[in-house]
Symmetry: C2
Subunit: 202 residues, 2 copies
């Protein structure tokens, strides 16, 4: 029984923690929070960046409306309180995933400064990187990939960010990317460079 | 711009999916759902198993009341509907983490068959492994690590599983571990052996 007893003690003293996961993965965990108007290119940029990070051996995961709204937040609608709870849960899931050692990329309009800052406050210094995808409203509306701006202008959607609801731009985002006619590869290159400058990528 | 355009297309055609993550990690993802009475040893076994899996290079994460109740489910209490929603969210977080390539270990009493089966139904065949930690009630009550049985017997806690609320034992769990005076190392060895038999560990 000695071995079992010893191992019991060892296991409890050395639970698998962030340091152990970072050592196994070869990189620290991180949350990259992409914020910007609908149609600004957040998801496309985040997906392309994830591709590059994965190619370099980084353990990643991309959280967006698609994989959250159909599962974890399927009980929530789009009223203000529901949207707030949706973002809160996304932040908490990201926190668990960062604890699990992953580089999490989250792409949500997240228009209110207070909500983004509340998520930031859940993370250690340097673990939360705010990526402001700063695309002019006119460009977002010209693209309108889901036809949402058209509906908002027609009054079919109310409280649409940028039209009849405010977008509160980040005051001091870690990364700001002006995404107006920027080729995707160039955008990804700039993001990689910025992450290196922040010391969160080798 | 040719390169950018090409990469754009490639990125969109080859989003990072489960296969890509499994190739990078060297193992498929999985959810190990530990169920059993309070004090049955679920968390201790799950923690010790996680330690062993991590040592073998498996990317793991342990979900339990501690890391879920204080964050993602901090808005929930312990009324039946809240406990149900708590487990539903845990299942959805586990689903996202499995999608992210992790071997997730979840340790929750989860006394009702229907709730466990609802979580199972969210996963592909073979991705959900139910681990029934089958410890006799008398043994759990004798250990009573948190003093909860004592309070339940005194009527200070109502609807306590095993005392005045039922525990619905799994009918066909993938793994059943009788955990009565079983040394921890032996329990972990049996779990590892069972996982190998299920073909989910190399």
């Amino acid at each position: 029984m000695d071995k079992a007893t010893t191992e019991h003690i060892v296991w409890h003293q050395h639970a698998i923690d962030r340091a152990a996961r970072a050592a196994l993965n070869g990189h620290p965990p991180l949350l990259l929070w992409f914020t910007g108007l609908s149609g600004s290119g957040k998801s496309t940029l985040a997906g392309a960046l994830e591709h590059e990070l994965h190619r370099r051996g980084v353990r990643t995961y991309l959280l967006d409306g698609d994989n959250v709204r159909h599962g974890l937040c399927s009980d929530l609608g789009f009223a203000p309180a529901d949207r707030q709870e949706n973002l809160r849960r996304v932040g908490e899931v990201a926190k668990l995933m960062v604890d699990a050692g992953l580089v999490v990329l989250a792409a949500f309009v997240s228009p209110y400064r207070a909500e983004r800052d509340a998520i930031r406050a859940r993370f250690a210094d340097g673990e939360f990187i705010e990526v402001f995808v700063d695309t002019p409203l006119a460009a977002c509306e010209a693209r309108d990939p889901k036809g949402l701006y058209k509906k908002a202008r027609a009054g079919e959607i109310r409280h649409f960010t940028g039209i009849d609801d405010p977008y509160e731009a980040p005051l001091q985002p870690e990364i700001r990317l002006v995404n107006d006619n920027l080729p995707l590869a160039e955008g990804v290159a700039r993001l990689l460079s910025a992450l290196q400058q922040h010391g969160v990528l080798p």
